[in-house]
Amino acid sequence: MKRFGWQLVAVSSLLVALAHGATRPQYGGTAHVWLRSAPNSLDPASPQPDAFSAGNIFRLIYDTLVIADDTGRLQPGLAIAWQAAYDRRHWYFQLRPGVKFGDGSPVTADAVAASLRQANTWSVVPQGDSVAIGLEQPDDFLLAELALPRNAIVKRDAAGPRGTGPFRVAEWVAGKRLSLNANEEYWGGRPFLNSVEIEFGKSYHDQEVALELGRVEVVEVAPEQARRMEGAGRRVAESQPLELLALVFARDSKTANESTLRGALQLCIDRESIRNVLLGGEGEAAGGILPNWISGYEFLFPVETNVTKAQEDRGGVNQAPVWTLGYNPADPVGQVIAERIALNARDVGLRVQLAAGTNADVQLVRVRLESLDAGIALETAVARLGSPAPKLDGTSAQKVYEAENSVLQGQRIIPLFHLPVVYGLGPAVKGWDVRRDGTWRLVDIWMNAPRNSSD
């Protein structure tokens, strides 16, 4: 009996060891990723149609001086220390020593200064192993700015942009495919994966099918499909709601009547039905541009539907124009949401005609917030929505609120929902850290059963 007991203990220990081995990080393998949109180029300073997705890719190849974690706190990147002068206009960054670009050349203050000048209008001066950044105005958002992918440190030469990130570019077929190999000399330590294969231009449906067939390890998932996929037993990783779905008018309101009608439109939209039915219960009804978890004040903006008030407002205006509501024809849920908004508008006497494309009076737009810093997120989001940049007098929540409120009072933007960024993961992906800001950390994942890119 005692002997049998030892044998049982030995077998159990072996099983536990095997189980532990399955979750233990291991090197090797290739992660296959499918995405809908591709970056215009691999230069992070260039404008990107989907800055959020492009930012995730750039973070694999490049480093920034400072890095924002998923709580928004800033961590050392290529800069190991920084200091601001008392006037908040002059900043000094001490560079991480021993870091090399992809071509083996060291990251010097000159290279960093040249890279930052490419993306900004700041005065950047190399000073030994440090760089000094001079601003025209005091800027409390500089560190958050420097954490954005567009301010990544890049060495630009005839062979193309080179970075210091965890992966190096092996092949780039613009708009179609990007092959990355692990940077053996990465200052943060070699990534577990040997390589990453990213393919672009894949629809949600194609991505889901590929994930189902085991051809890819990471795909994007439409937020409204997240629950269904979870219900079907798929691995789904969701961020906090950081994609803004909003109506954006092509121009500012010019008359009081127009403002009244825009207010009526805002009031008549049944966000609850749209969220529950069309968005599959995902996301949050949005009254502000920034979600509450970033700004902390979003609850101050109303989101309730008030059809009676909307009808009264509409009744107060003799003639209402026929608004065209544009939507992205490649976004089927967006189209149905636009249809529903048109129906809601019709209920209160507003005339809204749908129009596929961007040439419309009012457009249904999706914008992903690029930063967890409220000020930066607000600035970039408003800029992407085509509105004039808000005036931010400080980094405090009060100042950001005032700026956002000012934007919303202009009635050019009607926030509708904040949606999470959702990824579908293959069963082999291990170590995927669910991040609130929706950014990838492919450097931290490993494959349970590594396979070669030729598989």
């Binding site: 039905s273 529950n276 069309l278 219960g281 636009a338 129906l343």
Partner: protein, 602 residues
């Protein structure tokens, strides 16, 4: 208008009338046949449409039944029993099911007519379908206007309750171009469907089975008529200025749910074939008319030639006869009435010629008799004194020689005088017979008249009884004349005037220019004048009103004037004197050329 033209016009008019009547008849028959064919074709197409409509309706009913009994409908019906049904699970369900059953419209509606899932308008979940009359669901498919995000459309719908009875399935197929294309349309026809889904007529609601590019606004009137009275109408629609593009539209009302007019079916037949046929008929008619007219020209020319040529020959011959040419003869080319006419004409001219010959012969005999009588008279007058003188002389020979001597002298004187008289008479006759041909030269008539006046001036002054007046036109042009002959003629007229005034008087010689390029010479006397009867016979040879005249003076004058291509006339009345008027042509150049040609011929 001559006979030939009349004949041509009559023939051409006949041809045009016949061809036009034929073309009209053919055109009318064509139109009638086309209308009949069009009517039959439209009827067949309407039946075909009805069959296709029924077939589609049955398909829709069947598909909706299948869906209503399906697993998805059952699951949905069960879900609806929950306190808070999750509509989100079914947003795309209707679209997926509709696609798999090839339906254009599909809605799942709960017992309160709330839309659970809509294929045609997914965003309409939770809204009520007001058009659905659940208590009285028709068993067959029916036409219904369906609201869509981009407007409205007409569909063939069927409604079925799902298992459990709390869920209803309303599905349908759109009456669109594909539906119309299933109709087997003959060449030249097309089917259009007007969806009566808007507040007013809109060309956007017209579905056309063809690729015709013209706008559909022109069918608005006929559609309006059908919408107004709900009855069938037919009209011709003109699309372009080209009549070949015209179409006959037959509009049929399509009843929808609860009797409302849901649409209008338009069966259109192109008039191209008819118009082209009509144009061909017209072209052929024009061609035939043209050819007929050309043929008629030839025929009428030939026929008119056959008829009018003998008539024209007769007319020409008649004109020749009128000019005095009795020897003309018309050719008798046929044995018909015209031949007989020509033959009669020939007989007539022959008889006229014979009568003329006889008349000439008779006149010649009469002239010879008159000449003999005149000669006898002229010769008898001197013979009687001669006889008396000779008898007196014979008688005196027996008497005293002194008496005889005296008688002899007197008698010889008398004999010589009478013999001279005889010689004078014979000389005048001889002169008349030897009248020469004129030798035309440029002559100033005024000069000639003055010469004649100078010849007689001494005689007139000696007698002191005759006064001469000259009234000469100084603008008188020269004339072509023989001055000697003309001098002689004027002298004869002056002598006649002097003879007409034994007691004296006034002789007036006047010249003037006539507007017809002729010159006029008047010789007037103030004598006793002559009667009209005498005037008529005055120029007859050997006629004289004088006791001792030969009757040749005025005949010579007339002969000279005639040789100068002129005319002479006399105006007189008893007691008012006599005026001889000579009119002569003034064509000097022509006379000269004639004279020269005559000389060269000689």
């Amino acid at each position: 208008m001559n006979f030939r033209r009349k004949l041509l016009l009559a023939f051409s008019a006949s041809v045009v009338v016949v061809v036009a009547a034929l073309a009209w008849t053919v055109s009318a028959l064509t139109r009638s046949a086309f209308d009949r064919m069009n009517e039959e074709r439209t009827l067949a197409l309407v039946r075909q449409f009805q069959r296709e409509f029924d077939r589609r309706g049955d398909e829709v009913v069947q598909e909706v039944e299948t869906i209503a009994r399906g697993e998805a409908a059952a699951r949905m019906a069960l879900d609806l029993h929950r306190a808070q049904p999750d509509f989100g699970a079914y947003v795309g369900e209707a679209k997926t099911i509709a696609d798999s059953h090839r339906l254009d419209f599909l809605e799942f509606v709960d017992g309160q007519r709330r839309i659970v899932s809509s294929a045609q308008w997914p965003a309409k979940f939770g809204y009520q379908d007001a058009s659905l009359d659940l208590p009285s669901i028709p068993k067959r498919a029916y036409l219904k206007e369906e609201n869509l995000p981009q407007g409205s459309a007409l569909g063939l719908f069927a409604v079925q309750p799902a298992t459990g009875g709390e869920l209803f399935v309303a599905g349908g197929k759109r009456l669109d171009k594909n539906f119309l294309e299933t109709l087997d349309l003959p060449v030249g026809t097309r089917a259009l469907l007007y969806e009566n889904v808007g507040p007013a007529f809109s060309a956007e609601h017209v579905i056309d089975s063809s690729e015709k590019e013209e706008g559909t606004e022109k069918i608005e009137p006929i559609v309006r008529e059908v919408l107004c009275d709900g009855k069938e109408h037919t009209a011709t629609v003109r699309w372009t200025a080209d009549r070949r593009d015209d179409e006959i539209m037959h509009a049929i009302p399509l009843a929808g749910q609860s009797g409302r007019l849901a649409g209008v079916l338009l069966i259109s037949s192109s008039l191209r074939a008819y118009v082209e046929l009509n144009r061909r008929v017209r072209d052929i008619a024009l061609l035939a008319g043209g050819a007929g007219i050309l043929l008629m020209i030839l025929i009428s020319t030939w026929a008119a030639g056959r008829v009018t040529r003998p008539v024209e020959q007769l007319a020409t011959a008649a004109r020749s006869v009128a000019r005095g040419d009795l020897g003309v003869k018309v050719e008798v080319a046929s044995k018909d009435e015209l031949g007989e006419l020509a033959d009669a004409f020939n007989r007539m001219t022959r008889e006229l010629r014979e009568q003329s010959d006889r008349l000439v012969q008779a006149e010649r005999v009469a002239a010879w008799r008159e000449l003999a009588r005149r000669l006898a008279h002229e010769l008898k007058n001197p013979l009687f004194p001669l006889q008396l003188t000779v008898e007196n002389l014979v008688r005196a020979h027996t008497q005293d020689p002194q008496v005889f001597e005296e008688m002899f002298r007197e008698s010889t004187a008398t004999l010589l005088a009478e013999i001279a008289n005889l010689k004078s008479t014979i000389g005048r006759f001889s002169e008349f017979s030897r009248m020469p041909q004129p030798n035309f030269q440029q002559v100033d008539l005024n000069d000639l008249v003055q010469q004649v006046a100078r010849v007689f001036q001494a005689q007139w002054q000696a007698s002191a009884k005759i006064d001469c007046r000259l009234e000469l036109d100084n603008t008188l042009p020269p004339i072509a004349a023989d001055s000697d002959l003309l001098h002689r003629a004027i002298s004869n007229l002056v002598l006649n005037a002097m003879d007409a005034m034994p007691a004296g008087g006034t002789i007036t010689l006047a010249t003037s220019k006539k507007p017809d390029d002729r010159v006029r010479l008047e010789v007037r006397d103030s004598g006793s004048g002559i009667t009209p009867e005498e005037c008529q016979r005055l120029f007859t040879p050997y006629y004289t009103t004088k006791q001792h005249g030969t009757g040749l003076g005025l005949a010579i004058v007339q002969s000279i004037v005639s040789d100068h291509h002129g005319t002479i006339s006399v105006h007189s009345a008893p007691g008012q004197g006599t005026t001889f008027v000579i009119e002569l042509p003034q064509y000097w150049d022509r006379r000269k050329s004639e004279s020269e040609s005559a000389k060269s011929a000689v």
